[in-house]
């Protein structure tokens, strides 16, 4: 075969007719074939660039796109085993074309769809691709997600980073890891998601409650962590990468090996090890902020058009240090720390991770299988389980140093099905059910030496059912609608202090929860709750010429209070607080409206996305306003309570092409959160932030990429005042406890550069050099719970090497 043909690898057949009219009823159809064998290629994607719409070839290799207007369109055709094909077609009548794609048996590369395939046809989402994820290999999921406009991080120090979509976090944000909904005690602010981002090939952020496939409680939205598809061919490939950082004097090494076979089998092994010592703020060491982390994942599967299966297992092992000065004994220690403006304890650099620290392991396993039925669709069944073990060690007396103050084991297992009915023209229906069992096992006082664990042991049963349908009104306009019902049952076994039980009136409200046994001022209770959750969604998307697109989504989400909100009971040393749950909580119900007006265009593209989220019975954790007296001194009680709330704002993204090689991207996020019940702002809402980036890229010269980014966050001026005064018994005076004030505005600059060198036909080396916080700016972030104690990270020089083979 000659080379020219190889490169072009398509042949086009045009059928012309000069009939013309202005209507939009033209049909573009055709067939995708293999160049060599003339066998049909199923599942090829046919994408019309100008309209941002795509169709997938059926089992006969045929596709149809209807309701097209007259015009010239750019068509991109992709298939897992082939190189993409681009062609221009003129539509002025119904057009039928046969495309021939070439299988590149020699080219051994992992293929990820180049086309933005939306999770749902009408959802408002943003995708982080592999190249972005790769620049975060030694960071956390929360860090990479913060790249998306409208997503912020709620963090505890620099290693525990929780993603936050439009001001909401934890249980309101569903993280779906490889099609398994992640359950890793996500309820606590100081619990980061136990996910290794090196397992992901793309991450989708869906900013609405619109994807009902994964749950009815996505009040904030969803994060979908996905892996790529592989070509069905005999090959072996992989990559090794390493990252080194000046800040923390650490980095990671990771390796990945993939084998695939022509029959459709694949096998992937991946491992990542990360280690950092004490990180450094601009002016001082953050003693005991080191982190250690070992992750591995394995997958094995078979994929064909008709049937397939995927077996996946991943393991995450984290040891996370929390800066030593963040452990305070009582309110007066906290005031001392706040007034000091810098940590009182700074040690020399060390890799050692002492108490306070967290040890977390997470196992996740999944078996998924699918089969296609002719004239019906695709049935997928999935079984999965997860075990999350979390141990938290506080600074305690020497004899208790090795006793975790909290030790939880959360086991979750689920079975779910999805039937995708796609045999009908223009209509795709997804329907399925879910069965889930979850058990939390909290170690008792024998292990923790804490009389009542922060979270009790409990069993939780969930069952759900959903129907989601997508309908193409025309080639340019799609609508979707869905409904979901979930039933949740929680049965806990929890000790209460008799005083608390009676003070909250639980003895009269819930006498059925106890058997009346009291011992040591404690009462054993068995709280049981049932929750019925209904959720619904509606979506609309319309595409226009020149890449313009308009989408509107409405989502009704309802969320069962989580174990922390219902049952929390205990002491957090990082903020001298006692956290108290409430058995009186109802489910949280949100109505979220989000629209987006987008132009997908390389020269000048943008996206404006306003949203409004109205939440009834919004559960918040706020200071109760007074201090509790204990033998340790005074503590602040933080209580879970419910208010009506609204959160609204706008996300703005702009991208432009200044010259052939010079590009610009900018983003702006503005948000306002209000507690309508008390007519005050909501606590912990992200402030207005914007960023600008300029980058030079030269594909011909070693894929050179050089960029500079500016990132600004304003001071959050809209915050609730929960300050109070307490008596300082040392100085014998009343003092103000300022736990509410927000931190100042800051602007950071970052530099990044990378280049790629080809060695042999199949090997390449990518080298990257980056500087974060170039000017070593000291700053604190309102959304970092350790902001009272120390600054955020200072400058970091980073070198990354990635070797593909």
């Amino acid at each position: 075969m000659n080379n020219k043909l190889k490169r072009c690898c398509f042949a086009l057949l045009f059928f012309y007719n000069t009939l013309s009219s202005q209507n939009c009823n033209y049909i573009f159809s055709g067939k995708i074939e293999d160049f060599h064998e003339n066998s049909v290629l199923t599942e090829a994607t046919i994408f019309i660039k100008e309209l941002n719409i795509f169709s997938i070839a059926d089992s006969k290799g045929e596709f149809t796109i209807s309701n097209l207007c007259k015009g010239i369109y750019t068509i991109e055709i992709a298939h897992v085993a082939c190189e993409n094909v681009t062609a221009k077609i003129t539509i002025n009548q119904n057009v039928y074309k046969t495309f021939q794609l070439e299988h590149h048996l020699e080219e051994l590369k992992e293929i990820v769809f180049k086309i933005d395939r939306k999770t749902s046809n009408t959802s408002i989402e943003q995708t982080l691709k592999e190249d972005v994820i790769e620049s975060f290999t030694d960071k956390s999921l929360g860090d990479v997600l913060a790249k998306v406009t409208g997503v912020s991080s709620l963090s505890t120090g620099n290693s525990i980073v929780k993603p936050m979509i439009h001001g909401l976090h934890s249980s309101r944000l569903l993280i779906v890891n490889n099609n398994v909904r992640q359950f890793d005690q996500e309820w606590g602010i100081e619990h980061g998601p136990s996910i290794d981002i090196n397992t992901a090939s793309s991450i989708d952020v869906i900013k609405g409650a619109n994807t009902l496939l994964y749950g009815s409680d996505a009040i904030a939205g969803l994060v979908l962590i996905k892996r790529g598809n592989y070509q069905a061919k005999d090959s072996l490939f992989g990559s090794s990468s390493s990252s080194l950082n000046s800040n923390g004097r650490g980095g990671n090494i990771s390796a990945e090996v993939v084998t695939t076979s022509k029959k459709g089998f694949y096998n992937r092994m991946q491992v990542n090890y990360k280690k950092f010592g004490d990180f450094k703020a601009a002016k001082y060491n953050l003693s005991n902020s080191g982190v250690k982390n070992l992750n591995a994942s394995l997958s094995f599967g078979y994929k064909s058009f008709e049937k397939g299966f995927d077996l996946y297992y991943s393991y995450v092992d984290n040891t996370i240090g929390i800066i030593r000065t963040a452990h305070v004994g009582n309110v007066n220690d906290l005031i001392r720390a706040i007034n000091k403006k810098a940590p009182s304890f700074v040690n020399d650099f060390s890799y050692e991770i002492d108490n306070p620290r967290q040890l977390i392991t997470h196992h996740l396993a999944k078996l998924q299988a699918y089969k296609r039925f002719q004239n019906l669709g695709k049935l997928t069944l999935q079984y999965d389980f997860q075990i999350n073990r979390r141990k938290e060690f506080d600074r305690r007396r020497t004899v208790l140093r090795d006793n975790p103050a909290a030790d939880f084991r959360l086991f979750t297992t689920s079975f779910q099905s999805n039937l995708k009915i796609d045999a009908l023209k223009n209509l795709v229906i997804n329907t399925g059910f879910l069965l889930r069992y979850q058990q939390n096992n909290s170690a008792d006082a024998n292990v923790t030496r804490v009389r009542i664990p922060l979270i009790p042991s409990y069993d939780k049963y969930e069952t759900g059912f959903y129907v989601v349908s997508n309908y193409n009104l025309s080639a340019q306009t799609k609508i979707s609608a869905g409904f979901r019902y979930d039933l949740t049952k929680i049965e806990a076994e929890k000790k209460y202090k008799v005083f608390d039980w009676e003070e909250n009136n639980y003895d009269e409200l819930f006498p059925e929860f106890t058997v009346g046994v009291e011992e040591d001022f404690e009462i054993l209770t068995f709280p049981k709750f049932n929750f019925n959750n209904y959720s619904a969604s509606f979506g609309f998307t319309s595409f226009f010429n020149q890449g313009y697109e308009f989408s509107f989504n409405y989502g009704l989400a309802s969320r069962t209070p989580n174990a922390s909100e219902l049952f929390s009971n205990g002491l957090h040393h990082s903020a001298a607080r006692i956290e108290t749950g409430s058995l009186l909580l109802h489910k949280e119900i949100a109505n979220k409206f989000i629209a987006s007006f987008t132009r997908n265009h390389q020269v000048l593209g943008f996206s404006i996305s306003p949203y409004y989220n109205s939440i009834n019975n919004f559960i918040q954790l706020i200071p109760a306003g007074d201090a509790l007296t204990t033998v340790r001194g005074a503590f602040i009680e933080w209580k879970y309570s419910q208010v009506d709330a609204r959160i609204f704002g706008v996300d703005l993204d702009v991208n432009g092409k200044l010259t052939d090689k010079l590009y610009y991207t900018g983003s702006l996020g503005v948000l306002q959160g209000d507690n309508l019940t008390e007519d005050i702002p909501l606590i912990h809402m992200p402030s207005t932030n914007f960023s600008n980036a300029l980058f030079y890229t030269n594909k011909e010269f070693y894929q050179l990429n050089i960029g500079i980014t500016q990132q600004t966050e304003f001071r959050q001026s809209s915050f609730p005042d929960y300050n109070f005064t307490t008596f300082n018994p040392i100085n014998q005076e009343d003092v103000l406890v300022d736990i509410s004030s927000t931190t100042g505005a800051f602007t950071l600059f970052h530099f990044n550069s990378s280049a790629s060198f080809k060695f042999a036909k199949k090997s390449s080396l990518t080298v990257a050099f980056n500087i974060e916080n170039i000017f070593n700016k000291p700053y604190r972030n309102y959304l970092n719970t350790l902001r009272y104690f120390a600054d955020d990270l200072g400058r970091n020089f980073n070198i990354k090497l990635k070797y593909n083979y």
Binding site: I253, A255, R395, N446, K497, E519, I578, T630, R632
Partner: protein, 202 residues
Amino acid sequence: MKSIFKLKTMKTTRLLAILLISALSFTACQEDDHNHDDHDHEHEHQEEINNLRYRLTNAEDTTDVVIFTFTDQDGEGGADGTSESSGTLTANATYTGELELLHEDDDEMEDIGAEIAEEDAEDHEIFYTTKVAGLNFEVVDVDKNNDALGFKTNVSTGDAGIGILTISVIHEGKKPNNGTIEDALSAEGTTDIEVSFNVTVE
């Protein structure tokens, strides 16, 4: 057709990558899921001190005893703890003071103070602060490094007066220090105990 299992076609780098993955995965699997009951049951040390007793005995009259007691029977959270004193201190007298830190519940009593004095004294220091004129506390016991500890005190009273006495136990504070809590807490120290009593000298 190339077979994926033909080792000779594999490059050394790929082999190394596979070996690295196997080695690291093996290490990962070795970590047991610790049993919830794998801790030592012989000495069930309690975290919580729910009873603090400070006993002052007049050096010249052993029947003149004043006991300051802080109790929080249901521990942290729940009902607030309560402070009380058994009487008033005699003016212009000297007392010997002894502090006890206890965990007491229905079926056991643990002397946490004694345990700290024996095993953990270097990490602890007890401070007595008051603004009552003439009321002075002198720590007389020391840890292994000869630094002040504070379970044993000599107390002298001045003229009659009323005020507050605060007893603080500082954990991992700066030792030695200049005798003030501020200095003890100036490094990585934290307050483990802070209780206050009304004190009357007459």
